[in-house]
Assembly symmetry: D2
Amino acid sequence: PRAREAGVTVGILQPGPLNAITDVAGVKVGQVTLARSKDVNTGVTAILPHGGNLFQDKVPAGFVAYNAFGKFMGSTQVAELGEIETPILLTNTLNVAEAGAASVEWTLAQAGNEEVRSVNAVVGETNDGMLNDIRGRHVTIADARRAIESAKAGPVEEGGVGAGTGTVAFGFKAGIGTSSRKLPASLGGWTVGVLVQANYGGVLTIAGVPVGVKLGRYDYRQQVEEKKADGSVVIVIATDAPLSDRNLRRVAERAFGGIARTGSSFSNGSGDYAIAFSTSDAVRRTAAKRNAVSAVDDLPNDRMSPLFQATIEATEEAVLNALFKAQTVVGNRGTAEALPLDKVLPMLKGKP
Amino acid sequence: PRAREAGVTVGILQPGPLNAITDVAGVKVGQVTLARSKDVNTGVTAILPHGGNLFQDKVPAGFVAYNAFGKFMGSTQVAELGEIETPILLTNTLNVAEAGAASVEWTLAQAGNEEVRSVNAVVGETNDGMLNDIRGRHVTIADARRAIESAKAGPVEEGGVGAGTGTVAFGFKAGIGTSSRKLPASLGGWTVGVLVQANYGGVLTIAGVPVGVKLGRYDYRQQVEEKKADGSVVIVIATDAPLSDRNLRRVAERAFGGIARTGSSFSNGSGDYAIAFSTSDAVRRTAAKRNAVSAVDDLPNDRMSPLFQATIEATEEAVLNALFKAQTVVGNRGTAEALPLDKVLPMLKGKP
Amino acid sequence: PRAREAGVTVGILQPGPLNAITDVAGVKVGQVTLARSKDVNTGVTAILPHGGNLFQDKVPAGFVAYNAFGKFMGSTQVAELGEIETPILLTNTLNVAEAGAASVEWTLAQAGNEEVRSVNAVVGETNDGMLNDIRGRHVTIADARRAIESAKAGPVEEGGVGAGTGTVAFGFKAGIGTSSRKLPASLGGWTVGVLVQANYGGVLTIAGVPVGVKLGRYDYRQQVEEKKADGSVVIVIATDAPLSDRNLRRVAERAFGGIARTGSSFSNGSGDYAIAFSTSDAVRRTAAKRNAVSAVDDLPNDRMSPLFQATIEATEEAVLNALFKAQTVVGNRGTAEALPLDKVLPMLKGKP
Amino acid sequence: PRAREAGVTVGILQPGPLNAITDVAGVKVGQVTLARSKDVNTGVTAILPHGGNLFQDKVPAGFVAYNAFGKFMGSTQVAELGEIETPILLTNTLNVAEAGAASVEWTLAQAGNEEVRSVNAVVGETNDGMLNDIRGRHVTIADARRAIESAKAGPVEEGGVGAGTGTVAFGFKAGIGTSSRKLPASLGGWTVGVLVQANYGGVLTIAGVPVGVKLGRYDYRQQVEEKKADGSVVIVIATDAPLSDRNLRRVAERAFGGIARTGSSFSNGSGDYAIAFSTSDAVRRTAAKRNAVSAVDDLPNDRMSPLFQATIEATEEAVLNALFKAQTVVGNRGTAEALPLDKVLPMLKGKP
């Protein structure tokens, strides 16, 4: 079950109808899962800000590297120009290049892009090297392209799928998770949707309960930092609020508040990145708007706080969903067990 | 009582003997409290990295502005040169200049600084404008200087003292709080000490329990963002680990993980800053070392994770101490009540 | 004479009518010069983005620290919120606090600001410690306030005035300089105005000619880095183009291209900062606009390049004006001679 | 001829024996040139900080994005950890992925890397879309790998080779250029070497002479910004000085001073990046040093200025070499003529 279905809620705001990043109208998600054998457990997740020509109709975006031990591709242009012009792809650490190539090829091939000679591919990654033979570099350009082409609105598959096929968090099988918040009309009525690729560690904390301690399973327990593949989390945030790229960066920064609440210790090896974009037509950078002074809507600084709260909550819940929905996987260099909900849920009794 | 005295513990690591920033050998704290009347509730807190000539024997430092709606002074030079050369002062938003002037004057006056013509004062602040007539700008240069001169090792006063005299967090009287962690020898044996000036909002969460919700007192409750003075938190982190300025910046960034766990929503108006320094002799920038190639100790990236965990825990506990130790104050524009421990502590029953 | 009056022109674009920052409509400059004796050579320069209530009607702004060995005050909030809410003040290194206090006091006292409890003072500085007894901290709050209150449109005094009273560049007396560029209508017709406080070193280069070498006067000449007070340059850029704070930051960054062309070596001790703002009504952040979604004009990325070129040129020329207009000063610890135009101008013969 | 061979010198410091990045001992450069037809003019340039196992013996590094309209890969980890663990590759904008894949594959295949599961490929690019059918994505993984494997010490080929095969600067054929400076012993005796991939615009200025104006060929000449492929410059800086990653970042930032002096206007579409590394054994991050506290040499802030000057000069001269050594190329969408030295050199007569 998802966390909320199991009775676990976090925060004070309400989710949207799907409780997913796709509650933000227009956002599409595509996933390709490569779970072919004990050795190959990896994949690609693609998030498309809208269904049109992303290169021609760019969306404003903000990016934050909280702990940049990671290979996030495309971030410097996002920060400089304040925009995204391609799908956001997630995959494993050693296949960023293949995902990047797919993003470039796909963009060049879209109708209307015949004269395009510069494409900024945006690719995030985490390391699935415990369950996946990551050195084999099993994700192909075609796989990544399939993820883009299969993107659709509606519910998003969670757990060990797409770029989360081989990821592990807090010692348990994790993967892709998503959640959303819809602000009440009095706070603007905007929707914030989050999707995470969860693959990090710390002391697992669920709705404030240090479950990792109770299960006797957490980092530093042996007071020795064990040699392990470096984890990471990549967080993608969508909103329909008409935000500037600067305020989208501020939104992205808040996502780490949600990660902190799940017990992350933001360890040295954890590449923790967030990227946020707005789907609002009123801020979309169309060819016409990119060519002359034009009016752009702006939600001012003073109205941002509810969006920050929504981002923190949806991020925390997205991680829980990644854990709650994942199944045990026997992989390349070990086994990642699913979170034992039978033991965990009783620990959460009486939680708000 | 402090949180731990009241039975509330957070994290998996152990505090140092004082459970204070002064557990890091050499660190001194001085506080001047201006609580003269209903209208004047403000003050200054000074943190000295060591007891020698700070300008001549600079300490490496790292700085992070998580949400920079604040007036932190001196940060750009800290980041560029990777060092602090003065005390770190905390005060209220509209008296940063007075604290800065005091820092400059005091530094110029120290023996050995007769030829000094450039001083980088480091001053953080939060807004105590509810309990304090902040427009009156009641902190003088002499007050700030007294805070520096009174700095000492040993236990640190907490709650409504020094720069925390007039601050409020989560709707309750807060102020200055401190805590520490001492790593086990197997993880390096280093100490991390944290001091916070707590003055922010969100949904108060103590050891994972959303106390703010249970007390019916949290932001967005009325689904209307009330007009309020902008809060903030400034976090000062000391360690005896021999860290580069880059890794000190990474330590500073982790402090916000602790803030997130107390329920902060990192709202627009909250100026959230952290600054970290190392007291290790092996990284101290003495006149000799600043003049020629010299050997500097370095704890490498791969050994940083336990320090990150320690920082998160000590920051969370420092905030709890600020709240637990504060007393109700009737102030300039309202009253800030102490956290009702009689109601709160029973909510935490059965916590780890 | 100003550089252009002496026949020295740089760049390919044309200046505005005043060839000054005040060519940008609404911008006002005020200067207080403290040249009381051999020992006191310092002052304050104030730049006001417009003549209204700066706190209520904030202007978007961008900030860059190219080499942050300096004490620039207020920069973190400018970057976070993308705006300025006070005058920009320039002074000497050890009087930043006094200028900051003046900015706060003046802002609190403006009509309409009776409920203001948070003010972000913006203060830049360079070190005039050779000509000025800088340790004496001779600039008072009243001096800085007078600079603000005396601000006016029209021509700007240059050379050894205001915050440039005691500054030295390339070994010659320098100070305040200003210049502007007006784009042709085909490139948008916008105006860019620059004001510099020039106080740095390197190999003086005028219109491409390495005058410093020809005069036998440049850094590293003795192949020994002499002990000297740290220099700096602060650059203020105004434009009437409707720019986002992000693109204003990009404009600020270009200013260093102009500094580079004058022969700066951006030495360790040179605190080099730039801040840019837009005076356009269409981007001004009025109380109404700060309270709700509203339409803001935006000059898109693709139309920025001519503004970048204009910024580089105006910055280079502003520095030349600071040098050309300055007079010899006998000061506290030495004498700074005026640039010997009789020798220099012949070196520039035949320059475009 | 190279610039210096043609009698053009810039700066006050002396070059090393090769006047190339390879004057820094240990640095190796490899280039693969794809100039197969009118349509295919592209390639790869690889810079190896040393000849050992780069992943195991990492080098400290600093990175700066001056104008980040570009697809630089790997930068966030370089900044976070302060180090490089792979070759630095340069190629065209749309083949970054192939270069990245080559870097990963090559690194995984090196002896001693059998257990490596995380590799941070570092790839810079500029857009050669005028002379090269860039949409054809002609650079293969094998091409990039060949560039790495062919890297060697000694003289570096310049002009239209490697990643500079199809690049154009100031409207003339440009490409790869290199230069170096060796500080006198009194300033430390360190060597700084620079390699550029020059592909940008502005008003070409050679040794201070605005050659672009005299040739009637410069941006904005028609007062209309013509539609053109976005240019860029990537600058790689090597030094044997024992620098911290922070001071390497400061070195990288100075490179843009050199670019400014060549007449760049740092236009919107120009992706301008610099990366600097130290080859000093005393700062190399070997497996042993990455595992425990260890002593690292450090050249302090106060001794940095001569290295900054050297970087500016070598960067300027490297660009001139790229232009002086390039030959006319008839390409995919036009012809880029070589700089007409017969006309240009007389313009420079009498220059220092």
